[in-house]
Symmetry: C2
Subunit: 360 residues, 2 copies
């Protein structure tokens, strides 16, 4: 048996459980609702199944749902392959609208669908069969680019981490939220690969516990010391446990640097500010939406109250109780120390630096 | 059938489900672990059962566990009633130490036991039978005083609430945390009884969900509009839902105004400060511990990781995951707008105002 360097093992483990995988005309999506106690893949043969997987959070994380939507379009193309060119285009366009409607906040979803639509537009003279092959190639490209971007985000971001250091993160912005490697966790993986000593506190992230179910699981597989806390322990941990920095992902970044991310992010940013702890946001530039000036333009999804009242299958609130369950919140740009994208580290003022990054 | 004024109905409902009740030589303790889906009482005939009920959180809330400890001493006295005077005293003293060891943070526990011990000391010439009757009478007095103090806290505190107003609270500092009426929720009940329009957001309060299981249940029974949120939504609710003030209870208050309360309170206080929202702490003066100068002197209980990893009966974290699970945190006095006790409203500087309140 070959003895593996623990850092190599980390990468192999990471590849072992992929967020999704295209194989033989089907999209296999890891059902993240069952993690960490069960590893099961959904076998999607139609774009509607991909919609369901996104809507139900079997696959989640802004970059990952962008990649899934790309493959959803590829499935739609194969579904319509026997149609006439005109009907094929119509079917594809409707499938795209349907996929985009699965969740409102993450911009990567519409970004991926628009990218496929643009491609289809450019080649509208092609026969459906050839077009389908092109679309699949584009979806694969989106996936490969996502992994490559995450690695770049990691490389840029790791320079911000001292060694040893203690990092606090929220929700899951790791391999599971992307096609692989992760954004916020990508920064941590890159630092560890560089030999830095990193320990992580992860908020469990109610209501759906992506922190304890997914982030802790990912980090433990990579052998990175990780401690789960409830969300309401974050302030105490910042004060008493020597947190050096906070790093999170993003679902949509407005032109001015306001950004949407998993509910709880805004409070965490305010607490980091209160404790004078740097607060970093790691995301690919596809998450930046220059069409909106500020966070006020970002739609916030409200989800089923049952996620709160019977979170883990057991009723824990009175019947008839009123619940407020926004899936995201908006953090104002003033609370962000820097954004980390595949283009580099973007410092305030973000209105110019986010654009500069894009042009660079 | 008599038509009841909704405010009267509120009080009757409150009396309907009592936190604990002494009846026929037994202490019936409402098992709050089963709420809100099941109402069941533990039937305690020995002080060790009371210890178990406190330790396992069947009864919780600083004032309530003080009252329970008083009755626990009454049970110990009855258990030792056939012993000789000397052995009776020894048994009682050991029972007191045992009860105090059930939980470390709330000072009301040792306060109640010391009160019974002092009484026993003053009457040590009495026969065990007479002493037992005296001790029971003292335990009943502690209970009655607790309800009376909560009502006074409510009366003082309600003057701080505008009408209409939106209040945010954490954990449960209501009827269920006391012998009745509550501290933080007592303030809300008093305001509603005065005809004020109050709506409440309650943090669910992970890991054990005392907010959604207990506070929402109590407030709904009283017909007070209540919305449950996850703890990580509090910042967003403060900013976007017009929260006028935060009010919480306390488990121990140091001489300088630093105080221990359910984990999450410190973060909430920091977020209230960040949003310039008044932050009030409602507690009887028995919660003040003048023997310690600052929050550094308050011991913080760490509890079983399973509360976090299998909180709702279902495993939601990887096996072997490391967990940090402090039951309380310390909020520094600087973040408190005022303390509300049965003696009045105590404003900064607390070092003098908390004492003044006691002497007044």
């Amino acid at each position: 048996l070959v003895k593996l360097n623990p850092l190599k093992r980390m990468l192999i483990m990471e590849l072992g459980v992929k967020t999704m995988e295209w194989r033989g005309g089907r999209l296999f999506i890891l059902d993240q609702r069952l993690l960490p106690t069960e590893i099961r893949y959904l076998d999607c043969v139609s774009y509607k199944q991909v919609y369901d997987a996104i809507r139900s959070l079997a696959v989640r994380g802004a970059p990952a749902i962008g990649v899934a939507a790309g493959y959803g379009m590829a499935l739609a193309a194969w579904e319509a392959i026997d149609k006439k060119a005109e009907n094929f285009s119509k079917f594809l366009s409707q499938a795209g609208d349907y996929l985009v409607s699965s969740r409102p906040t993450a911009v990567n979803l519409s970004w991926a669908v628009q990218r496929i639509n643009r491609l289809a537009d450019q080649h509208k003279r092609l026969a459906p069969q050839k077009m389908s092959a092109l679309i699949l190639a584009e979806a694969e490209k989106i996936e490969q680019e996502d992994v490559a971007q995450c690695k770049k985000i990691g490389e840029w971001g790791e320079s911000l981490l001292p060694s040893p250091c203690t990092v606090l993160t929220h929700c899951n912005a790791g391999s599971l939220a992307t096609a692989g490697y992760g954004t916020a966790l990508g920064v941590i993986y890159a630092a560890v690969l560089r030999g830095k000593r990193v320990q992580v506190f992860c908020d469990e992230s109610r209501p759906l516990l992506q922190g304890s179910r997914l982030t802790a699981w990912e980090l433990m597989q990579s052998g990175i010391p990780t401690t789960i806390i409830c969300d309401d322990m974050a302030a105490q941990v910042m004060r008493d446990k020597g947190v050096d920095l906070v790093v999170v992902g993003a679902d949509r970044i407005a032109g001015n640097g306001d950004f949407a991310n998993k509910i709880g992010t805004y409070g965490l940013a305010a607490l980091a500010h209160f404790h004078s702890i740097p607060f970093y946001v790691a995301a690919p530039t596809s998450t930046i939406d220059f069409s909106i000036d500020s966070g006020r333009g970002i739609p916030i999804e409200e989800r089923d109250p049952a996620e709160v009242t019977e979170g883990m299958g057991k009723r824990t609130a009175p019947y008839g109780a009123q619940v407020y369950n926004p899936a995201f919140d908006i953090t104002p740009a003033e609370l962000v120390t820097s954004f980390i994208t595949e283009r580099g580290i973007h410092r305030p003022p973000f209105k110019t630096s986010l654009k500069d990054g894009l042009s660079g």
